[in-house]
Each structure stands twice: as structure tokens, then as C-alpha cells.
């Protein structure tokens, strides 16, 4: 069994989670301070990829970063590399599809954050940057962690948008989800099952680790 799809999926999911981690947190932070009208509009736009069919996201992506798209054509002309049909094309697709999960979970955590902690810290002379990293984030740890894990799990399982921008090239762009589909089309059920179980195992590990993180929060120092 060629393990390339496993490696590729983890690589893509890891990098796109890294991107959505920061993008999601900062979007959530700024939206939570935005005036109400702006908030509503931003919230809609930022959540859109979650409710759109992934194929629609893939379609838009192809139209922008494809070799004929406004972004894709320029990058091809300037740097000479294609943004579609490569392994890293999947990063754009999964990052967009998983972004709302991170953004919404973190925003929820920020909204329950006790602003008095922030106020108290400000009156103590602590900078807003310090308070963001050392007070707000640690106290919203739960939400940020579950957002990250959910985004990672979703990235591993992303199929629709990914398959449109990467296609299926064995040993180059194949991921677990596209491999399972390909094997099923070829009637290779035995191998398809193997990949299905790999996927199940990863999902279980991810979900169990979330639960463990949540229950074993912080051991009390007395």
C-alpha cells in the first residue's frame, strides 16, 4: 500500500490548519470589536464557505487561481508556477472550507470572554498586545483548541473543493479522500476499505484527544 495519500493529506491539513488558526483568531478578534452593522456583514461573508457546497468554493477557486484566472495567470506569468493541479493547491481549498469552523468557534469563545479581565489588565498598565496573548487567548483556550481540531479534522476529510483544484494524480496530488473515491471507481474495494479505516482511525484519535484535552484541563496547584 502506497502511503503517499496519508502523508499528503496530513501535510495539506496541517498547513491549512496553521493558516486558518491565525486567520480565524484574528478575524474573530476584529469582528468581535466591530460595530454591529459591520459585524453582521463580515460574519455572513466569513461564514459563507461553511454553507456553500464545496464544489462551489472549488469553482470560484478555479476561476481565480486557475491558469486562466486573474490571480493564477499573473502568478504563472511572474513566477512560472501553476496554482492548480499541484499538491499545494489543496491548501487553498481546505483553508477556505475550514476557515469558518475556526472563525466561528473562536468568535464564540471571545464573546463569552469576561471583558472585566481585559479592563482590569488595562487599568493595571498591561498592554493590549500582552493581554491578547497572555490573558484572552489562554482563557479562550478551550474554544481555540476545539476550533483548531475541528478545522484539522475537516481539512483531512475535505473532498469537493480539493478534487476540483488538484484533480487526482497518484503520487502527486492524491489525498485520502480522493484515493477512496478513485479506488471505488476502479472497483478496488479491498484497498478502499484500508483507506477508510485509516481515515476512521485518524478521526477517532483527533476526537479522543479533544475530549482528553477538555477533561484534563489544568491540574490544580495547591
Amino acid at each position: 500500500m502506497d502511503l503517499f495519500p496519508l502523508w499528503n493529506s496530513i501535510r495539506v491539513a496541517g498547513i491549512s490548519t496553521f493558516i486558518t488558526f491565525f486567520a480565524g483568531i484574528f478575524a474573530a478578534y476584529y469582528v468581535s470589536f466591530a460595530p454591529r452593522a459591520v459585524k453582521g456583514a463580515f460574519d455572513c461573508v466569513l461564514t459563507l464557505p461553511m454553507v456553500l457546497p464545496p464544489t462551489v468554493v472549488g469553482f470560484f477557486l478555479l476561476k481565480t487561481i486557475g491558469p486562466l484566472g486573474p490571480v493564477g495567470s499573473r502568478i504563472l506569468a511572474l513566477f512560472g508556477f501553476k496554482m492548480t493541479m499541484t499538491w499545494y493547491s489543496a491548501i487553498f481549498a481546505t483553508a477556505i472550507v475550514t476557515f469558518p469552523l475556526m472563525y466561528r468557534t473562536v468568535r464564540g469563545a471571545f464573546e463569552t470572554f469576561d471583558m472585566d479581565l481585559q479592563y482590569f489588565g488595562q487599568t493595571l498598565g498591561l498592554s493590549d498586545t500582552y493581554l491578547f496573548w497572555r490573558v484572552r487567548l489562554p482563557n479562550c483556550k478551550q474554544g481555540i483548541l476545539s476550533g483548531t481540531v475541528l478545522a484539522f479534522a475537516r481539512a483531512l476529510g475535505e473532498y469537493g473543493a480539493t478534487t476540483m483544484v488538484t484533480g487526482y494524480i497518484p503520487g502527486r496530488t492524491a489525498s485520502i479522500s480522493t484515493t477512496v473515491y478513485q479506488l471505488w471507481r476502479e472497483g478496488n474495494d479491498a484497498l478502499a476499505y484500508k483507506w477508510v479505516f485509516v481515515n476512521l482511525a485518524i478521526s477517532f484519535i483527533v476526537l479522543i484527544s479533544v475530549n482528553m484535552l477538555e477533561t484534563g484541563k489544568r491540574s490544580v496547584a495547591v
Binding site: 482590569f120 493595571l124 496547584a221
Partner: protein
């Protein structure tokens, strides 16, 4: 060394419109829940930006909407103690103090001396969740003093505590405030706390402040319904002015009043222990009542009476009397008694 605040701010339907100036010593901000006390403190601290106004301390402008000055809370030097302490849940006591001392950047105070000063020895490595309510407040005070504020503001610091701890911490706060010596604002809805802690008081009602006055003025001669309610008075009637004095509409009786009152008098108030049983049936401010209810209290008896002349639809007709237990023996609900109010105990009130 005085703090001046004139603040106008809207939040949804709520309108805040306050103005006061106070010097060194403890000033109370007394008002019912939701009247804008905490919002006022947050505006002074700089964590909420008011719509308009002027806030300055000792000649230094913190906020001026006209000149577009708005100093960030970090540099105002205003310490704010929250009801629950607002300590960072993810930091131990020594972490928090160290963070404040580090941002301050000098060695004028040491963490150890603060820990000692606020009796926090042994709690240095505790997280707030492992401290009692009183310890949390003292720990928060230690952090505030680590910052070295020039104005100290205490926002309902005792409300989250049970009564024994409350009494202990109150003593602590009084000591801190007097050692601090600068401008201190003490926010509370509890008149007893304010009476004991403060030298002057500003009553707040529905987002507006009344004139600043000494604590004795408020308790001896409140002049508005709101300040009278806050000073703990329990008996009110709507009032009309008549040639003999004040007509208490809800009690159906004329009251002679020894205090001067203006034409804007709309209510009259009498404190519970100034309504006394009368042995005679006639005399100044003597009138007949029927006993509605007799309640034994911890150290005395509360007798609720309804004046015989009260209109049947009066919501405020019930008068509460408080007396020692011996005086109340033999009084039963349904009995008729005569009560007397001395003219000097009648308080005419503006709206």
C-alpha cells in the same frame, strides 16, 4: 488633587449623564443596581469611551471630547477593583503581580512587600479559583497597588461576599483607602457601607448624579425621593402642599413639618423608627391606624399599619414602624392604634 468627571454616554436606551468633582478622601457613588455607577467608573478608567464629556485629575486631562483627548487606560493611573476581583484565571498571584511590576518598569515596590501588606502569604502560587472571595479581592488590590494608581475606584467590592467576610474586607478596604490617601471612589448600592466608608456621597438615579454632599447631610436631610430611598427610609407618601403643612395623600392625613420645604415638594418620607405609638388620640401629627401585620425581627418588632384615612387604592398607604419587642407586646393585626410623627422627622422630598 481633585478628580473632575463630566460624562455623557448612551448605551442602547440607557443614558448616562453625570458630573461631579471630588478631592482626596473616599467619595461614595450610591445608587440602585443598573443606574450607571459601574459605567461611570469604566469611563473614568478609560475602558469605555464616553460620547462626550471631560475627565481630568489634578490638572491632567484624561478625556476631553472637544479637544479630542482620550488617554488609554494604561497611562491614566486609575485603579479599578471589580466586584469579583477580575483576576486572570490563568495566572497565579505572583504571576499577576510580576506582570504588573514588569510593565511598570521600576523597582519602587516589591512583590513580597505587597503580598505581606495584603496578608496573602502562602497564596503566591494559587490560581484565583483556589482563593476565597475575600482573598481574591485582596489579591486584586495587591495588583492595583503594584501599579501604583493615583485614583482608586472600588466597584461594589463587597457584594459578592457573604456577610462575615464582607465585614472583614470592609475593615481592610477602609485601611487601604486611608493609607492610600488620594481620591477614592466607592461604588455601592448599600447605604450602610457607604455611611461607614465614605466622607462624601453622590447619589445616582437612572443615569444622573445629584449634587455631591457630605455623608451626614444625606442621612439627616435627604431632599429627593431617590436619595431618601437610598438612605434607607422605608415610608413614603405622595404629597400635596396645604396651608398647615404637607398633605400626605397616601396616608390621608395632614403633617406639620419642621423643615423648610419648597413648592416642588412631591413626596414625604418618614423613617420607620420615627413613627411612634401615641398614648393620646389628639395632638400634632397624631392619627389613627389599623395594624396590618406584626413581624418579629432579629432585634425588634416590625409593625405595618394602614392609616384609617388612607385612600383604598393607595399603593404606598402601608407605614412601617420599628420598635423594641417590649413596646410591641399586645399589638395584633386588626387592632386600631394611634401613631405620632414629630414635625422634625417629616422629610419633604423633591422628585
Amino acid at each position: 488633587m481633585s478628580l473632575y468627571a463630566k460624562i455623557r454616554h448612551r448605551a442602547g436606551r440607557f443614558r448616562l449623564d453625570v458630573e461631579f468633582e471630588t478631592g482626596p478622601g473616599v467619595m461614595g457613588l450610591l445608587g440602585a443596581s443598573g443606574c450607571g455607577k459601574s459605567m461611570t467608573l469604566k469611563c473614568i478608567a478609560g475602558v469605555i469611551r464616553p460620547d462626550e464629556g471631560l475627565i481630568s485629575y489634578d490638572g491632567r486631562v484624561f478625556f476631553d471630547s472637544r479637544r479630542k483627548i482620550d488617554l488609554p487606560p494604561q497611562v491614566r493611573g486609575v485603579g479599578l477593583l471589580f466586584q469579583n476581583g477580575a483576576l486572570f484565571p490563568n495566572m497565579t498571584l505572583s504571576d499577576s503581580i510580576a506582570a504588573v511590576l514588569k510593565s511598570r518598569g521600576d523597582n519602587a515596590v516589591s512583590a513580597a512587600s505587597l503580598v505581606k501588606k495584603f496578608h496573602l502569604e502562602g497564596l503566591e502560587n494559587h490560581y484565583p479559583e483556589n482563593m476565597s472571595g475575600g482573598q481574591r479581592q485582596r489579591a486584586a488590590l495587591a495588583c492595583i497597588m503594584a501599579r501604583g494608581p493615583s485614583v482608586l475606584m472600588l466597584d461594589e467590592p463587597l457584594s459578592a461576599l457573604d456577610s462575615y467576610l464582607r465585614w472583614q474586607l470592609e475593615g481592610e478596604l477602609a485601611r487601604v483607602a486611608s493609607e492610600f490617601g488620594g481620591v477614592t471612589l466607592y461604588v455601592s448600592h448599600n447605604r450602610d457601607e457607604v455611611y461607614r466608608m465614605c466622607s462624601s456621597v453622590c447619589v445616582m438615579n437612572a443615569g444622573r448624579t445629584e449634587a455631591l454632599r457630605s455623608i451626614d447631610e444625606l442621612f439627616e436631610s435627604p431632599d429627593t425621593l431617590a436619595s431618601c430611598l437610598l438612605s434607607g427610609c422605608k415610608n413614603y407618601s405622595r404629597a400635596g402642599i396645604s396651608d398647615r403643612g404637607i398633605r400626605a395623600l397616601d396616608w390621608g392625613t395632614e403633617l406639620a413639618c419642621a423643615v423648610r420645604f419648597g413648592p416642588d415638594t412631591e413626596y414625604v418620607g418618614v423613617r420607620s423608627h420615627y413613627v411612634r405609638k401615641s398614648d393620646t388620640k389628639t395632638g400634632t401629627n397624631v392619627f389613627a391606624c389599623r395594624i396590618d401585620r406584626v413581624t418579629r425581627d432579629v432585634f425588634g418588632t416590625i409593625v405595618n399599619v394602614i392609616p384609617l384615612g388612607a385612600p383604598s387604592d393607595g399603593d404606598f398607604s402601608r407605614i412601617r414602624m420599628e420598635m423594641p419587642r417590649e413596646e410591641a407586646t399586645g399589638l395584633r393585626a386588626g387592632d386600631e392604634i394611634y401613631v405620632r410623627i414629630r414635625p422634625e422627622d417629616v422629610m419633604p422630598l423633591k422628585k
